[in-house]
Symmetry: C2
Subunit: 121 residues, 2 copies
Amino acid sequence: MSRKPVNIRDKLALFHDHWSPRVVAEMNDYQFKLVKLQGAFVWHDHPDTDECFLVIDGALRIELRDGTVELQAGEMYVVPKGVEHRPVAETGAHVMLIEPRGVVNTGEAGGALTAENDIWI
Amino acid sequence: MSRKPVNIRDKLALFHDHWSPRVVAEMNDYQFKLVKLQGAFVWHDHPDTDECFLVIDGALRIELRDGTVELQAGEMYVVPKGVEHRPVAETGAHVMLIEPRGVVNTGEAGGALTAENDIWI
């Protein structure tokens, strides 16, 4: 029986809104989520977990209170738990997030950009 | 202060041997490992954890006892815990593995292809 892998670009073609992560796979209690970014997000942190950003297309800047990480496609960065960060994608980016199931995109900050969680495509 | 992301292709250029995963990042108690595959691996399973394969370059076939998954670059597949599998990359592949720290590449099978664990680049 042939089984289908997850094709990242095929999944990205299925949605167009920004800052709204879609789950594409699970590994134990972790999820792989795709999200399209445009502009600046809110400052927030995740007090209980690290969070991995893997850039698929475009460019992403992760602002930290004491520094900045500039990422291009094919680059990744793990924001440690409890570290405040603000993702900024001035010209747009497609990103894979890897983090435990249940993590909310705005962390402790909340606000208008808080996305519904655990949406699969 | 500018911080450096992990550039996947830069890391892949740092080693040339096959079936020997290198750790490039950690997230909580999980690791991101890069590995170069050529030919057929051994049948094995990981009784305690799922294992994610993300193909960076080349093509990978994951043989299962009851099926097959064919992956190209930009595709991923999570092998569930306890499921026997055999990775085969006839024409070569560069793969990112994502799994808990401490997972041994040959799982329960052992043998000559068992790689030293927790080698960082």
